[in-house]
Symmetry: C2
């Protein structure tokens, strides 16, 4: 296996209350708990950058997660993992929309 992660799993969350700093902090804290899932190789939690407004740039989301996995099997094991399910149970009321991109190397 090369050093490059096999699978990148990116999720974008749109909060029901996008102006609530409290809700954003709750969601970020919830996402942090996902680091403890053994199959999650890396996790980056982000927020929109204050880059220039251009037609092609979507700044409308609230919080992002970008995870890497070593295999499809690891990603499949992550979905039903108790910590992932606990996160959804604890934080699922916060967002009105989630959008996922699953990415593998083009090479």
């Amino acid at each position: 296996m090369s050093d490059a992660p096999f699978l990148r799993h990116m999720a974008l969350f749109w909060l029901k209350r996008p102006d609530s700093a409290e809700d954003r902090v709750r969601l970020i804290a919830g996402l942090e708990t996902l680091r403890a899932i053994p199959q999650v190789r890396t996790l980056h939690i982000g927020v929109p950058a204050t880059t220039e407004a251009r037609d092609v740039v979507d700044h409308s989301w609230s919080v992002s997660e970008s995870m890497t996995f070593d295999s499809f099997e690891d990603q499949a094991a992550y979905q039903p993992h108790p910590l992932h399910q606990a996160f959804i149970a604890a934080c699922g009321d916060l967002w009105e929309r989630v959008l996922v991109y699953d990415i593998v190397d083009a090479g």
Copy 2:
């Protein structure tokens, strides 16, 4: 500066001819030329993973690029860089839609 990249710049491309392997190869080759831009710290080029079809997962795009920059200034310098403009001139006819997410660390 920490080891974590300051700014992640993710672009998703939807090809006009999504079933054309030739067009996908052309776009990927064009994206590869962006590595030579000094401000581009890292570049990952991806394609959709064959993960489970779920309502929240968007598998409809063709090619992704994920870049990191050390500063907003570097990202701003990238936009008009001759190699970036040459890429757009050479490959801009290939895609019907591009969508960008600019991401900074939530911490």
